[in-house]
Amino acid sequence: MWKKSEEERPEISVPPASIRTPQPVKEQALIGPSLIVRGDITGEEDLVIQGQVEGKVILRNNNITIGRNGRIRADVLGKTITVEGSVQGNLVAEEKIVVRQAGEVKGNMQAPRVNLEDGAKFKGSIDMDGTAAEKPRVAGGEKEDKAAAAVQGDLMGKAGQSAKS
């Protein structure tokens, strides 16, 4: 009675292998508000900082967000850098730097595009390319002032070392 013939067994459709392959999930790390990090941070994933960081943050191909609770005294190198908290240090971005209304930056910023929202606090210098359509500057690929070159060169040297390891 319960036995079904083979013809009556429902077919289970198996999706093609390409659909079954899981999509890669973009990794994002978080430094929580109670954490204090002293030293260099390098890697290959996006980072949100809600705690305190002293040192260097080198994530050249990734997005870095300094959240509202983030307090950093560090030089930062990333693809895009968004500041909602407080930064004392130099920011270098391959694509864009955004300082939100609640953000506060004391230091130098260098990126093809820099957006400052009204209300954001900033003291320092902003190195601008002149047009967002220009190819983003590769660190060390152009003549730069000693101060900016020192920051970038130092950060890129560390990034190169971490990539090799």
Binding site: R113, L116, K121, F122, I126, T131
Partner: protein, 209 residues
Amino acid sequence: MIQWFRNRKPELQPVPQPIEQAQKSLAFNALCHQFPAREKYRVLDLGPATARNVEFFGRIRCRLHIEDLFNTLVSFDYFSASGRASNDAVLSYLMPFPRNTRFDAVLAWDLPNYLDRDILRQVMQHIARYCGKGTVLFAWVSTNRYVPETPLRFEIMDEETLQCTGETAVLRAAPNYDAPEMPRLFPGFRICNSFALRNGYREYLLIFE
């Protein structure tokens, strides 16, 4: 310098609404056309950072230094173990530009109205170290009896239009510096252009020689 800021008390006057106006500026327009042909410009903005100003200078190859000098001086809390630091030492600490810096333009906005003669001269003497022949300086000097208690917020709308916003309706006495005083207050600079505005300010374009 610090004592000067702390002892100032605002004069409470019955006043109209805070200033908020778009102002045509011949001097700023002249400044924009004064830049010599160069691969990269250096601009010193003594006012606070604003989105529009960053966007304006972002259209040219430029290094924009933003100092927000008024708020920096007001909020600076210093102590010296060996006694009072000199104003020159304080200014070097607050504005530590790289030694080889040469600004093409200095935007003083209306800051001169908030510094007494000696302090203004010392501030400009410090800045003059980082200016070269041809550096242009833009400033608004009030000819009114009173100015807002804090500097106006200047936003660059385009090469000839500035949006000026007052943060407060409270007024203070204006120093009313006049044209013959300018070379002494801005050492190394001479007046290139000067325009009287209807709002009671006179705008100056000075050039470093």
